[in-house]
Amino acid sequence: MRSKLGQDFWAGLLFVVFGAAAILIARGYKLGTAAHMGPAYMPIAVGALLVLFGVVMTVRSLARGSQEVGVLAWYAAALVLLSVLAFAGLVRSIGLAITTVALAVLCRVAGRYWGWGETALLALGLATMVVLIFLKGLGMALPLWPGQD
């Protein structure tokens, strides 16, 4: 299915936003001279090209249409990202074992797999495996249980 507000329209817009933001922020950096090219040079040049390409893509999509974006899986995305953030936030304070269980549970919820027995087995299995490989095997600097950091 093609649509005027299709993939290329939004992708173009994404590029314009990133490019424009880069130019705006990089304006504050030194431009320098040819011999001593400043830190602003490359971001502004790249940002400008990105804006140009983004505009072309957006306009082209408006004129000729591009493939439809389709439905975004907000629920799955939010929970998968939450499981990653949970790992980041918890692992130092409560240790690898419980964090792994939390991550596994959140991931399973993300996929709407409600078999809790299977989730429990999976979580325990994964926790045992990573503790054995990364803590015992490789000696990674991570606490195993709460309060060991």
């Binding site: 304070s93 600097a141 249980w145 309060g147």
Partner: protein, 333 residues
């Protein structure tokens, strides 16, 4: 006093399990007699396998043997050493989290970074110096400079055009070059690289005439004749290069730029624990095998009392502060 102890205990209990609180409680009353009663962590604020990391790992192994408790090294690199140093600055002051501090974290960075996450003096209790590393002034062997004086003359002949390489802005090697330029009254251009390997490569193939580098990474190239050493930056000659004069001897009296490494604990670590650690480290450093291992790593073993080390840090911050300010180098965040 009672209030402080109570507060301290409450804070500890919050972040620790009941089991751990027991240990803390014990540590407060019995202080250093039972130290160490659990594994010690040495934070290295740089990536694995650099000089700082290798020193920390060598030391950790010996501390483990001396204490009979595991001593683990954890690399927390980033922001020129500031991330790792900050971790220790805010760790519990119980002697179980230590920092392998360097001339960067406790000499240069306090002036180089306008927004420091920690106070290099107030947030730390200096424990023990471990070693000192000399930097070496080296030129491409094809350059018509057989001594430091000849190098200075060459540089003076082309003001603004003569260049020196370094392992990056604000490193002790960059600032050694800046100090050299100031003292010899040179107008030279700094060419920074990402680490010392690419900088060495460009001096060896003649893209850049000279650079300062740490002894450990410079020595193999000097021995192979790919680089010509003109001077060492310590105040006395070094074992590995006995025929190379110091910068001071070669014509810039008073010049000294040394990379040093030492153990630090968070401020308010019990004095007993600091003294115990200091005497253990100093004893390890007096061992002949350990000294040889350090010399193999290009490091000169050096010991100080906690008090001397503390004074040393203060004078280093003052000294490098001046160099940073004259060079105009800064790293904003």
């Amino acid at each position: 006093m009672i209030l402080r102890v109570a507060l301290l205990l409450a804070a500890k209990a919050l972040q620790a399990t009941v089991c751990l609180a027991f240990v803390v409680f014990g540590a407060l009353s019995a202080a250093a007699q039972s130290y160490p009663s659990k594994p010690i962590k040495i934070v290295v604020p740089f990536p694995p396998a650099g000089t700082t990391d290798l020193l920390a790992r060598t030391l950790a192994q010996k501390l483990n043997e001396a204490f009979g408790k595991p001593v683990v090294v954890e690399n927390r690199p980033g922001a020129g050493g500031n991330i790792g140093a900050d971790v220790v600055a805010h760790a519990p002051a119980d002697g179980y989290t230590l920092l392998l501090a360097t001339v960067s974290t406790h000499g240069i960075n306090p002036t180089l970074y306008p927004n420091m996450p920690y106070d290099a003096i107030k947030d730390f209790a200096p424990v023990a110096l471990v070693g000192r590393v000399s930097n070496v002034l080296m030129v491409n062997p094809k350059l018509a400079a057989n001594s430091m004086k000849e190098l200075i003359a060459l540089a003076k002949a082309q003001p603004g055009k003569f260049m020196f390489a370094s392992s990056g802005n604000g490193t002790s090697l960059h600032l050694s070059g800046e100090l050299f330029a100031t003292m010899a009254q040179l107008d030279i251009t700094h060419v920074p690289y990402k680490g010392s390997a690419p900088a060495l490569a460009d001096v060896m193939n003649g893209q850049v005439p000279f650079m300062f580098d740490n002894l450990p990474s410079a020595l193999p190239h000097i021995k192979a004749g790919k680089l010509r050493p003109l001077a060492v930056t310590m105040s006395k000659r070094i074992v590995q290069l006995p025929n190379v004069p110091t910068v001071a001897e070669a014509g810039l009296p008073g010049f000294e730029a040394v990379s040093w490494f030492g153990l630090m604990a968070p401020a308010r670590t019990p004095g007993e624990v600091v003294r115990r650690l200091n005497s253990t480290v100093n004893k390890i450093l007096s061992n002949a095998e350990m000294r040889q291992r350090l010399i193999d790593l290009g490091t000169e073993p050096a010991t100080m009392t906690p008090g001397q080390f503390s004074e040393h840090v203060k004078s280093e911050i003052e000294k490098w502060g001046k160099v940073v300010k004259t060079s105009g180098a800064t790293v904003d965040q």
